[in-house]
Symmetry: C2
Subunit: 286 residues, 2 copies
């Protein structure tokens, strides 16, 4: 298999990483690819890169950060003051590395801003595995917080996060998704990451996030979303593609009259969100 | 192990049957036990039976039908015109068999009343495994309905129901609990069974039912509960005992800082219910 196809398959198959992590991984991939593409000069190289970048974006259409980070990188490439192919490769690599650093700092800064909202000894519910939320829990681990995490079927990223926070010394409780409603009575607030935030403030995140928001609203519990600005999309839901994954992940095979849906993402309406938290600050829902 | 203890363990361990089925099973068990208890006359026999019945009720404290059917049976025993132990045993057995028949008819009649609310070709979401809902689907199977069923972790009673309805020829789709919110957009109505209906109309059912009700309400989808009158409790939530089952059912072992909750039931507030349907008719929420 061509190295390009190998990388695209890696991104398609990676169900474990959140959108931020995957977007940074895509930038790492392009820093490798630019050294492996054979090209007749910078112009030819740029065309090859663009084609590969579009294929990477198409690999995970629900994930804005991949599109946003890669588009930003492509845009930066256009204005690079380079003359030789070798110089172009070096500068393109540095540009990608800078974006990776910027993204990592944004995650930490968004977590710091979220931390300022949280009182010591809070009981927090989160969902799926978000690197921003993990960064937040790292900052909060000595403040006496207790966290409740649904397992997040079918691949149980929630259980993975719970095992991580328990090892960090935080009292952590795993529940099934079905217990989200009954567990909300003992929660002070919910904080989740995002895969994409739409122009209107709706949040695309792991399927089930919308249920946490409904349950939180019903119980009068604040619902926060923490994310880096790169996840902000300029589009609304009408252009949204939600990914439907393999039925086999549910341990079921389809047969006559028996179908399986395995959508990975759902949309939480802005109306059910208390605040959006990024590296730039906290925006409350009016 | 004593035969009484064996039966109690059977009821504790049976996670597959709904409350109606289990309550009828308890009556079958007592019709056997009355022939195996050694007693000095009818008075002694009644005391032994009462003790055993209390142990059976305590085995599954969340399930009102067990308590209600067994209490009705005990009450009927008090008024039996019997003289000998042998006569008492025969009458007690017939009384239990009548109650079992009554319960089976009630399930069918409640399903028939629910059927009258449902238009052909409806897209229906249900939850967990309810014998009343299965009876409803049997009546509707030629009306072009399509059904959507969450798997119902941890023991996946929903998947079991889906396999049953697919074999009956009904187009059936299994989803994870996490897809309840996003799937509700394509649903005409939700209908679920109940383990217990509280005095105030709140419904105790498989954990996660309250999330279906929230999602249905948010999407403007009617939410029906179909059950036999024996499930009607005369108590409100303050006396409710919800069962917390083994952590291992989630495939996890508890360790330092890592806990697991495995509550089987939650409470759906009456405010989120469109109608209660029993063998006696349909009561709309005002």
């Amino acid at each position: 298999m061509d190295i390009r196809e190998q990388y695209i398959q890696e991104i398609i198959r990676n169900r474990e990483s959140g959108a931020s992590e995957l977007a940074r991984r895509c930038l790492e991939i392009v820093t490798d690819i630019i050294w492996k593409i054979q090209a007749d000069g910078v112009g030819d190289m740029k065309r090859e890169i663009e084609e590969f970048v579009h294929a990477l974006q198409a690999a995970r259409p629900s994930m804005s950060p991949i599109r946003n980070l890669l588009q930003t990188w492509l845009k930066n490439l256009q204005s690079l003051p380079t003359f030789t192919l070798q110089e172009f490769r070096l500068e393109a690599m540095r540009t990608a590395e800078n974006l990776i650093d910027h993204s990592r700092r944004a995650v930490t800064d968004a977590a710091t801003n979220a931390k300022d909202l949280i009182k010591p000894d809070s009981r927090i519910m989160t969902y799926s595995f978000s690197s921003t939320i993990l960064a937040l829990f790292k900052q909060l681990k000595k403040s006496g917080i207790r966290i409740v995490i649904p397992e997040s079927r079918p691949l149980c990223e929630g259980t993975r996060l719970a095992e991580t926070t328990a090892k960090m010394g935080i009292e952590t409780t795993v529940i099934t998704e079905s217990q989200i409603g009954l567990s909300m009575a003992n929660i002070d607030f919910v904080v989740v990451g995002a895969d994409t935030v739409l122009k209107n403030g709706d949040v695309v995140n792991k399927a089930g996030t919308s249920l946490l928001a409904l349950a939180a609203r019903s119980a009068g519990v604040p619902f926060y979303v923490a994310f880096e600005q790169f996840k902000q999309s300029q589009e609304n839901e009408k252009n949204l593609v939600l990914e439907n994954m393999a039925a086999s992940e549910l341990g079921l095979s389809e047969q006559e009259n028996l179908h399986v849906l395995n959508y990975y993402f759902d949309v939480t309406p802005a109306a059910n969100i208390t605040a959006w938290i990024t590296e730039e600050g906290v925006r409350l829902n009016k």
